[in-house]
Amino acid sequence: MTQRTRNLLLLAPAGAWFLLMLIVPLSVVFIFSFGERGPAGGYVPALTLEQYANLPARWAAFRNTMILAPTGTLAALLIAYPLAYFLAVKVSAKWKMTLLVLVIVPFWTSILIRSYAWIFLLGGRGIPALLDWIGIEGVRLINTPFSVLVGIVYGYLPLMVFPIFVSLDRLDKRLLEASSDLGARPWRTFLQVTLPLSIPGIATGCMLVFILLMGEYLIPALLGGGKVFFVGNALVDLFLQSRNWAFGSAVAVTLVVVMLITVTIYMRFISRVGGTRDDVALM
């Protein structure tokens, strides 16, 4: 058996699995998006752009996603950056890894349970009850855009911290010394040396969080109470409640296309900034 045959044999199970469970299903979604809804739900073959023309019917879901996904990404960035900076620059080597792992670990635990914790905290008997007790009355937190935003930041903060940490940790500390030797104040060193050099990390973190937020379902479902819904919530409704497969497929295809466009713009942006792209491994 030649080396090549052996390699192909080793690849066969994975290849077959990807074909059957990834390529075929995604192709079906693509094909169905040009079809029509059956009388009892499901799908009737057709070749029409009707479903795509109908997309404005779900405009609210796309609008919410396109507003809250970037806002959530930005909020996560603003909270994550100082922490990543602290971990990379200020913490001693001995504690660095432990503290970093403590940030990442929550990301790999159940997002369902972690979002549930916030229903508990933001609900009537949680933080609002505490505020009531100190004299601030009538605050409603749960089922608002704010509660969805809190859930988003909480859920995706680790994913933002990690790439920024990596880019700051790799930064040559002598550059900082050089900058201060040349008389730059600390904040000027930060703005002109540290921040530009950490842009690849910022871009990677923002992209990862943004991509995951585009397909988010659980956080708006649990913390938005049906008032703040994303494209993901529209998809669940279309496939599991109204069983409108053709229209649902068109929404799914549109979601993926919007994501791909965003990624392409991001790649352009990164190559223009000229930073090296950090390969992100979360463990």
């Binding site: 799908y43 159940s110 508990f120 909480y154 659980l218 496939f239 990624v263």
Partner: protein, 272 residues
């Protein structure tokens, strides 16, 4: 700076801590602490619905993680050794599998498999010998395992490949110079070095599959996994029982994650 970091850590861990704290609450109300008790754990563990869901989740996680880590490692080793179109195709497949949102994977698997089963079921019924009920393909545990394995395989390939590319090439070259056959080199040099990565991939896959809600929501058919059970209970209201289940789920993930971390670290040190 230090104060800020402490605040962020509190933000990350207080919600988890609150869930754990209230799971030991003796009172019936979810939000008033009334003494220590482990009765909600007993209640959760004696609830047949919870136990059924737990069993389903464990089987799915175990089988998917096994398939994903074995087939993923095989693919990673092969991809390390080849160039050309096959490698480009696989790079693309892995990229797509990781990039596509989970919800779209769930939808695609649902309508893809339901359509396939609608075609196959009449055929099976036609060739099935008379007198017996023909088997009916439908969404359930197997379709969920297949969907999880697909996604997790991509994850395992990435993890094992990272280990392989970090490996010192001179080790395998030395082995070849000492007249070891390729198979012997693989068994005695490569495999021991990538084994921690394979196990870490298995543990991460297990955790992911066990915690996954969105793919299972579409693909599990009439089966209920633990996250699906928890989700539908949350919709009915916050109860101390959910706190107990949540605490157990978080506890299990934490143990698996720490193990995976230690294995990856150790592997990294060894291969240098």
């Amino acid at each position: 700076m230090r104060v800020y970091a402490t605040l962020v850590y509190l933000f990350l861990y207080i919600p988890i801590g609150v869930i754990a704290l209230f799971s030991f609450n003796a009172g019936r109300h979810a939000s008033q602490l009334q003494g220590f008790s482990i009765k909600w754990y007993g209640k959760a563990l004696n609830n047949p619905f919870v136990m059924d869901a737990l069993e389903t989740s464990l089987i799915v996680a175990l089988v998917s993680a096994t398939f994903a880590s074995v087939f993923g490692a095989m693919a990673a080793v092969a991809l390390h050794g080849i160039k050309g179109p096959v490698r480009t195709i696989f790079d693309g497949l892995i990229y797509v599998a990781v990039m596509i949102p989970g919800i779209v994977i769930g939808i695609a698997t649902l309508i893809g498999l339901v359509t396939l089963f609608d075609q196959l079921n009449p055929m099976i019924a036609a060739i099935w010998p008379g007198g017996f009920e023909p088997p009916k393909l439908q969404m359930g545990m197997l379709s969920l395992i297949a969907a999880h394995t697909m996604f997790l395989m991509a994850l395992c390939i990435i993890i094992v490949r990272a280990r392989l590319s970090g490996m010192d090439r001179s080790l395998t070259e030395a082995s070849a110079d000492l007249y070891a056959t390729p198979m012997a080199t693989f068994r005695q040099v490569t495999l021991p070095l990538i084994f921690p990565a394979i196990v870490a991939g298995f543990l991460l896959s297990f955790t992911f599959s066990f915690d996954d809600f969105i793919i299972a929501f579409f693909v599990a058919g009439s089966e209920t996994t633990l996250p699906i059970y928890v989700f539908s209970s949350i919709r009915r209201g916050v109860t101390p029982e959910i706190n107990a289940i949540g605490t157990m789920v978080l506890g299990v993930s934490l143990v698996l994650l720490v193990t995976a971390q230690i294995l990856l670290r150790r592997g990294e040190k060894k291969s240098r």
